[in-house]
Amino acid sequence: MTVVDSSEMRAEEDLAESWELRLYVAGQTSKSVAAVANLHQLCDKHLKGQYRIEVIDLLRQPQLAAGDQILAVPTLVRKLPPPLRRIIGDLSNTERVLVGLDIRLASGKE
């Protein structure tokens, strides 16, 4: 998986329930790389076709940090659906990410 700056990755269909996620990273640190990878993996698994991910590198766009109240990096922000939620860390703890994103697992467990 490659890290794309400010890139948008659109899944195929735009269903009624669409997820808009924004991942803030700072440069290509191991944590950043891990976070991007973990996020894609997780979304592919649980939100297939219903999500949009925007990765923002704060080293390139530092002025965006204040707007979304970014403190720690990496930070994942769930813009949609409301309410806004923030998950910090490299997203390696999938369970916490799911709790943070409030994704109810339809079938069984992780």
């Binding site: 080293l59 930070t75 943070g100």
Partner: protein
Amino acid sequence: MAGTAQSLAQLEKCPTGIPGLDEITAGGLPRGRPTLICGDAGSGKTILAMQFLVHGIIEYNEPGVFIAFEENAQDLATNMASLGVDVHQLCAENGLAIDWVHVDAAEIEEAGEYDLEGLFIRIQCAIQQTGARRIVLDSIEALFSTLKNQAMLRSELQRLFRWLKDQQLTAVVTGERGDGRLTRHGLEEYVADCVICLDHEVVNQVSTRHVRVIKYRGSVHGANQYPFLIGKSGFSVFPITSVGLECPAPSEQISSGISPLDTMLRGGGFFRGSTILVSGGAGTGKTSMAAHFVRAACQRGERALYFAFEESQAQIIRNMRSISVDLAPWVERGLLQFHSARPSLCGLETHLAMILAAVVEFAPRVLVLDPLSDFLTVGSHGEVKGMLTRLIDFLKMKEITALFTSLTLAEHATEQSEAGISSLIDCWLLVRNLEQNGERNRALYLLKSRGMAHSTQVREFLLTDKGVDLVDVCVSAGNVMTGSARRDYEAGQVEEALRKKEEAARREAQMQRKRRDVEAQIEALRRQLEEEERELMQSMQKVVEIDERAKAERDAMTRSRQQDMVGRSA
């Protein structure tokens, strides 16, 4: 980091611009280093920090960044507006950047490893935007309650402070006081260069704010607890315990406003910059004397500051009109300012700070504290004396002439109750009630007046509808007479004089009569003498006439005899 090429140059200071704080820190906070300001909730940390930035921008042309973890920018702006600081304008002019770092544990889920690079980037962004030289982190401890990974947080904080130092930023970090430690989360471990502690002390239900520099690496600093005040113009500290006895001593004399009193004071009045105490019982005219003093200053065109602890401005003005001292015009012209407050409003130190703040702001030439004794309800004798010492030292440095009044309760204890402060006083006037013959009269004693040959006589102190007047008292048979006794005595004196005058006139008349009698007698005797002389003359005349007649007869006889002889011979 020690051991870098450092000359003997002293630690460079970054002035806070806060009155007094720069004095106790010998110039300000350590430049390029972080300073921790710790204190309880509501002890003024945020205001101090914000003022540090605002002064930096306005007075030292050093832009600043305020990273707020607790209040948002709008709240901060509102809070600072109450101190007359327009935060929005400072931001618009790019002198100040405020970044509110909103941290809410409920909104944040931690999933894996992270660091605080986001915060670093935001801080850097704000610094670049303004070109900041100063930064405030208020209060970064909020992160401890938000982030679960404390080990990461600590290492990141360490990195943050090192980074701020590398950036040569003078940083102020606030932290709330913890149990038995300076801050709840041990911020002092990271910020070790300078630690300033603010606290709040409540004694007898009266609260006093103190500031203390606990630690200052590489610099001397005042170690005491200094009172401070958060007033209209913000934070101000009064390090007056450091004031030495190096005040000037002008020999100019200024009128007390009561000309007979000036006469007693070598004809000129009080020395400028001296401290005058007027003490006396209730209703002895202390406030009236103060009013005269203040009016005289205003008439000279000097500013006067009047602290009233018992009466309001309106009350004093009304009451003083009854003795023809109208202070209202001077208030209107801005030469006279009243500050009325109950002593129990705040602690002694706060009172002192308030008085000093008012003095600094108004810059008066004379000052009145009426009455001083009310402070004893807030503090002990020793505390009051300590406070007054500092106040008097401060006023002397500024050559402000101060008049204090003091209420003494029992007549006999008058001199004892003031003994505590009498040594601080240059000129001490005592108004005493004298009870005699069923009436009460006031007598003024000039107990001391340093540096001048003054009158030692007791004067009767009169409050008339034309103002205060002093009258020489009558001393008779070892008794001082005042009031009606004096008037009786004076009347008696007049009568006596009149009587003596009449007596003299009578005696003179008598003498004249006598002289007239004697002269008449002399006249009579002279007449008698003249008479006798005339009679003598007459009788002498007669003798002559008789003589002549006898001679004539003799001649005639001789002639006839010769004829006889001729006839015979012829």
